[in-house]
């Protein structure tokens, strides 16, 4: 009976995937994508994940987990697997899986979808599960600790530098997504600005009136949030009010940097915690809502399976399928960040090693499904609208007539009226060059959700709801991330100046926060004023850094498998490691050295440098000052890309040395904590 069921799933999955892959011409219904993805997830979970758990890792249901060994009722608590699953998913889900697929959609829905599915099955979910397993076997220690103890202190430090770099890039890029979504949008800006007083109110309520009543305060916050969202339309339609909330990109960038600084020095109960509660619940709720929406509406995908930009000349980001598609979609396929979560709070809650497959592998499958939904969201809208939103002003100009003409010439026929109409439908003055993924996804979500709740009249509300939902958790990240960066800087500078390490000192916190904000703020600001549109320049750097961390985590897992004398199964992590190393190193080197000025930072700097020497101003720069800034930033970006490559290669070398050592050792050399495996 079971065999028949699985056979049916295999057949349905194969047929759906075949339809998705081979479909040409007419529009394709999103249901095919959903069914193909879900069948693949089930098959991968039932067979491949089980193989990895039982054969490669050798989970031992009899081995007591840290939750039992160190049970304190607080951090270490044996917890029901479904409850841990919810916790783990909420911790790993973020902005990454929502933005990457939207950008990848410029090549059509097919290339991105195939990478999301293959990536999660063979790389992303394997990484999450294996790291979770390794950490559970080591008293729930962190990835950094595991690397230090299994591969030596130098490897640990190199990995630490990698994490610091990612933190800077990630904060800058995520803040840039918010800036691009809110620039010249009084409705969105008003709603997002309101989240600050709402969070403060919740914080005070929770501190002084009803401590610990999370449900109560979240409901109050949610009601106020929706009120702000609805009232935002009135703000946008009243010129006197709208002018208060209409900002240019650079002004918004400065405001967000200032916000990041203030938020990160305030006590956590006042702003960070209530905002975190709101954004966590809103995030999970919206993801569920979107899934329901897609299943009920079953929209048609307007974007072709493969567009002409498969050749690497697309307007959202430059570069060919290999390696750039694989770094553009980072989080939905494989995300290095998850290795930090999987070696953080989750392993302290695992009741039994048997649950690791469900929580680690299964949690990542759900994240991948979020990426598939983002892909659907980006491709249900008119391709002309998609390209109008994701191309910088340098390519399509700043008025709808010119934009419509340029995009129609690319082969995606669209009229100026269609572009104006879409802007009007979602309650904005313009949708041109709203790069960064979030606004595109918001239009897609508004299209889907208004399809079953509210119709066209509510499209504006849904669009801004989607913007609010993304901005809310990105700003929470900005706050929390600035604190993390501050800590890492304090730790780093503390080597030279020990007094700086004292985290209870106000001076240290102020200086540390300011330093952290300057670091990511600088990159954010250069992204906002970048004549090419910052996403074009910065997203590939972010993708490379995230995949780099994933490669580091997988290298550590591979080393440990060899140290456990399970080298015969180590291919389960070697294959994704090799792929990620090839992708990040190729992408990093191309970003630095490619002769194509659209891709290589150095050749681009040379092109602009030569023009400066000749006294010429190259579009889209408008002045000589613009020109020198472009050159300077090119060098910074080139340095970052080169650093990523250096970190990955160093880790590969350390990994290789550790593996050889493990192979020549007579017995098991893995340093597990707790019971010795039988």
């Amino acid at each position: 009976m079971r065999a028949i069921l699985w056979l049916a799933i295999v057949v349905i999955g194969t047929v759906s995937l075949g339809v998705v892959a081979l479909h040409r011409g007419e529009t394709l219904n999103a249901a095919w994508l959903v069914v193909a993805a879900v069948c693949i997830y089930f098959i991968a979970y039932r067979f491949y994940a089980l193989f990895i758990a039982e054969k490669a890792l050798g989970v031992n249901p009899a081995r007591p987990t840290p939750a039992y060994v160190r049970n304190d009722g607080l951090d270490y608590v044996p917890t029901n697997r479904y409850v841990v699953y919810g916790h783990h998913f909420a911790a790993i889900a973020g902005a990454g899986p929502l933005v990457g697929p939207v950008l990848a959609a410029q090549m059509g829905y097919l290339p991105g979808t195939l990478w999301i599915l293959a990536g999660v099955v063979f790389a992303g979910a394997v990484q999450d599960m294996t790291v979770l397993f390794m950490s559970t076997r080591r008293d729930a220690r962190s990835l950094g600790d595991i690397i230090r103890s299994e591969m030596g202190p130098t490897a640990g430090t190199v990995a630490g530098i990698g994490v610091l770099l990612i933190c800077v890039i990630i904060l800058a890029v995520l803040a840039l997504v918010v800036v691009n979504a809110l620039a010249h949008s009084p409705w969105g800006t008003f709603a997002v600005a309101c989240t600050i007083p709402i969070a403060l109110l919740m914080g005070v309520y929770n501190r002084y009136f009803r401590p610990g009543r999370i449900g109560e305060m979240s409901i109050i916050g949610f009601v106020l949030l929706i009120a702000a969202l609805v009232f935002g339309r009135t703000v946008a339609e009243t010129p006197a009010l709208a002018s208060w909330f209409t900002f240019s990109g650079p002004t918004l960038a400065l405001l967000i940097i200032a916000y990041g600084f203030c938020a990160s020095v305030l006590p956590v109960w006042l702003l960070l915690a209530p905002r975190d509660y709101l954004s966590t619940f809103l995030k999970v709720g919206t993801i569920v809502l979107l899934a329901v929406g897609i299943i009920i509406v079953r929209p048609d995908l307007q974007m072709p399976a493969v567009t002409r930009f498969i050749d690497g000349t697309g307007p959202a980001w430059a570069g060919s399928v290999f390696p750039f598609l694989f770094i553009t979609i980072a989080c939905g396929a494989v995300s290095g960040w998850h290795s930090l979560i999987a070696s953080g709070t989750t392993p302290k809650l695992i009741e039994n090693e048997r649950d690791i497959r469900f929580i680690g592998y299964g949690g990542m499958l759900m994240e991948s499904f979020v990426a598939i939904m983002a892909m659907i969201g980006a491709t249900v809208i008119h391709p002309g609208v998609y390209f109008a939103m994701n191309s910088s002003g340098a390519l399509i100009g700043t008025d709808v007539a010119q934009a419509a003409q340029v995009i129609s010439n690319w082969g995606f026929t669209v009229t100026p009226t269609e572009l104006t109409q879409m802007a009007h439908d979602v309650g904005e003055t313009s949708i041109l060059s709203r790069t960064g993924g979030a606004p595109t996804l918001a239009v897609g979500m508004a299209t889907i959700l208004s399809g079953f709740l509210g119709g066209k009249a509510l499209m504006g509300i849904w669009y801004h709801f989607a913007i609010l939902f993304e901005a809310l958790f990105i700003l929470t990240t900005v706050d929390a991330g600035t604190r993390v960066l501050r800590f890492m800087l304090q730790d780093l500078v503390g080597h030279a100046l020990p007094a700086f390490r004292e985290t209870r000192s106000w001076t240290n916190n102020l200086v540390g926060s300011a330093l952290a904000c300057v670091l990511w703020g600088y990159i954010l600001y250069q992204g906002v004023i970048d004549p090419f549109g910052g996403i074009w320049t910065l997203w590939p750097l972010f993708g490379t850094s995230n995949q780099m961390l994933a490669a580091i985590a997988l290298i550590a897992c591979t080393v440990i498998l060899f140290k456990m004398k399970r080298g015969a199964y180590a291919w389960v992590t070697i294959v994704p490691t090799a792929w990620l190393v090839i992708c990040t190193v190729t992408a990093g080197l191309e970003k630095v050295f490619s002769a194509d000025t659209k891709i290589g930072f150095l050749s681009h700097a040379r092109q602009f440098g030569d023009a400066i020497a000749a006294g010429k101003v190259l579009a889209p720069a408008k002045s000589m000052a613009d020109m020198s800034r472009v050159v300077f930033n090119d060098y910074i970006d080139a340095t970052l890309a080169a650093l990523f490559v250096a970190v990955v290669l160093t880790m590969v070398v350390y990994g290789y040395i550790s593996i050889r050592r493990a192979q020549s050792a007579p017995g098991i050399t893995a340093r597990e904590i707790g019971a010795v495996p039988a």
Binding site: I214, F281, R483
Partner: protein, 66 residues
């Protein structure tokens, strides 16, 4: 009915854990069983303790960004 009640209990427990607050009853049971002579935190103290733990940053607690 029982099913609904336990489903609600699980959902509430999962929602709280998502924001870093584990089950208080489990904590009380654990303390009663393992450390019966030691003082027990009230729910409010327990909550403040968890709030602090969630946002404290050190080498082992670098909460993610992505």
């Amino acid at each position: 009915m029982d099913f609904l009640r336990s489903a609600y209990k699980w959902a509430a427990q999962a929602a709280r854990l998502m924001v870093g607050v584990p089950d208080y009853e489990t904590y009380v049971e654990h303390r009663r069983a393992e450390h019966p002579d030691e003082p027990l935190m009230t729910y409010e103290q327990f909550y403040q303790n968890r709030l602090k733990a969630r946002y404290t940053i050190d080498k082992d607690h670098l909460r993610g960004c992505c």
